[in-house]
Amino acid sequence: MKTRRDVFQALADPTRRAIIALLAASSMTPTAIAENFDSSRQTISKHLQILAECALLSPEQKGREIHYRLNPEGMKEVADFIEPFRVFWDDRFNKLESLMKKHQSKP
């Protein structure tokens, strides 16, 4: 499964995870994406290229500009593999949170 390995490598980088979080809201041009980071435009382009190669993002031509958008199918592959593990922890943390909220409100 070459694709899966690439997906995980792509997501291992904090800047690339931040790009994904940014694009979750709407598609953006590379310039607009780069404005959100201290890294150079070239560095961001490289990150976008890696994310696009493993199908986490898709480039779209809009007039004269290229916009990047999240590819839900690519993200789904990652989610399916880890989801039960994540839900296990999410469930535990939800219990912790509600327990401590009750604990806090005790006189």
């Binding site: 997906v7 291992a12 593990f85 296990f88 922890w89 999410d90 469930d91 535990r92 949170e97």
Partner: protein, 155 residues
Amino acid sequence: MEQKTKVYAEEGKQDLFITREFDLPLPLLFKAYEDADLVEQWMGTKVLQLESKTQGSYRFETTDPKGNALTFRGVIHEFIPNKRIVRTFEMEKMPFGVQLELYAFEEVGGGKSKLEQHVIYQSVAHRDENLKWPFKQGLNGAHNRIQKILSNETK
């Protein structure tokens, strides 16, 4: 909706990260890890021993869906209140291996706090076994929980 709990597990590596933001002030989140009574309640385990200090140790017991008792234990390498816990973790009599766990606690403002749990396994194979473990609980475990969470979210 953005997920509160995130898991980052890079393929071919022997570690992973679990992050979570809590709607709790930092001292309250930390207390949930420090206090034996509270640990028992949210983890659903019996705390046989918990010495929350640097060079302390712990031993917990839990019961699996078939009613078998499972014990797990470790030593606490570093314990810095409201900041950091470094400990080992091993399930007794199980082939999962020992793991090193680094917990980083952080205030994020607005009465919220964040936990980053970095888990390092003995090998890539050990990590992947651990990742798959909730799958193996089958319909009695993870799937029920997924169902429960999903049905709560759609309410």
